[in-house]
Symmetry: C2
Subunit: 201 residues, 2 copies
């Protein structure tokens, strides 16, 4: 149970965390849906059997790694609740861009690496729904109108894709311009438009 556990028998929770941490590092170079128990065993010096003891299937292993990466990202999106809505939005977008700037390959693996596998896809769906929930709680309304949910999910896809394109094209515009662009899409235009389409139903 002591934190200085290197070189000793690790307890179950610490061992799990060690295996997941190794997976997080590998995600920078290998898409998460291609990570194997072999890769993790090699990176940590444990046996493949031990990896499968903690994660019964390769998908379970991949899901734990993907979930850990996603939790890290979501934790960075939760910003100062005392700030204004516009400021919270800006800080959230900046946290997201900083995250992908630190580890672009990792993010590409996260965003693109799940294929049609439903176990890994569920992690992304949960993360995107968590972002919708965050916006919901920031807005402080009772229920989000259906049109606004569609608009928000579309906006999240827009932010993901625009960030990936920005990286793929070697940051052709400044980081501040990109943040301002995303903030403006949400603030100036997206919310009122989304509310308007609900009124048209």
């Amino acid at each position: 149970m002591s934190p200085e556990s290197s070189g000793r028998r690790l307890d179950a929770q610490a061992r799990r965390a060690q295996l997941v941490a190794a997976g997080l590092e590998l995600m920078g170079s290998v898409p998460v849906d291609q990570l194997s128990a072999d890769d993790i065993a090699r990176a940590t010096g444990v046996s493949k059997g031990l990896v499968f003891h903690y994660f019964p299937t390769t998908r379970d292993l991949q899901e734990a790694i993907l979930r850990s990466a996603t939790e890290e990202l979501l934790a960075n999106l939760i910003v100062d609740p005392e700030a204004s809505h516009a400021e919270q939005l800006r800080l959230g977008i900046e946290a997201f861009i900083s995250y992908i700037e630190m580890a672009p390959a990792n993010y590409l693996a996260m965003a693109r690496g799940w294929g049609s596998d439903t176990q890994l896809g569920a992690v992304f769906e949960e993360a995107r729904e968590t972002v919708v929930g965050l916006v919901h709680s920031v807005l402080g309304v009772e229920a989000l109108p259906a049109g606004l949910v569609i608009a928000l999910r579309g906006w999240i896809a827009f932010v993901e894709e625009a960030s990936l394109q920005w990286l793929a094209h070697d940051r052709p515009i400044s980081r501040d311009a990109l943040v301002g662009f995303m903030q403006a899409t949400a603030l100036v235009w997206l919310l009122p438009e989304a509310l308007a389409i609900d009124a048209l139903r």
Copy 2:
């Protein structure tokens, strides 16, 4: 070479087209990256060996099917060049939504079924770049500014995701409201904003 080839030996091109057509039908229920030569053989009554004669690997088979679906979609996006820009945009968006309305499972398979596989992923990248090229030619400018390319790719992701969410939530707003929403994002806001961020570089 005759068109009435059922029940007779098909020539190579017709046989290929028959196998791909069977794959297109199966895409409604099976993600394209999970379609097998077995599935195609069973659906068409030919031997698995014959399928592999035309498509050396399963990925080649999947790619041909995905490419055919994508070409069908892109053909629907090319609309009357005599119409105004706003009208061409509206008609293009309507063609896209009509396409996914006809075969939602097919589109889900297309949009989500490629995973981290680069051979299938390349088909999607080409399709999205073709849409950027279409917009480029409609605008009639010499080169698209880098910020506008980022914005356009982001907007395409937005349109894809918003359409999928609209279907997933059983069309909670009217089709016209959805089309109007997508048209407004592009016209009223996206283009001027994209040009403005380029000016900020």
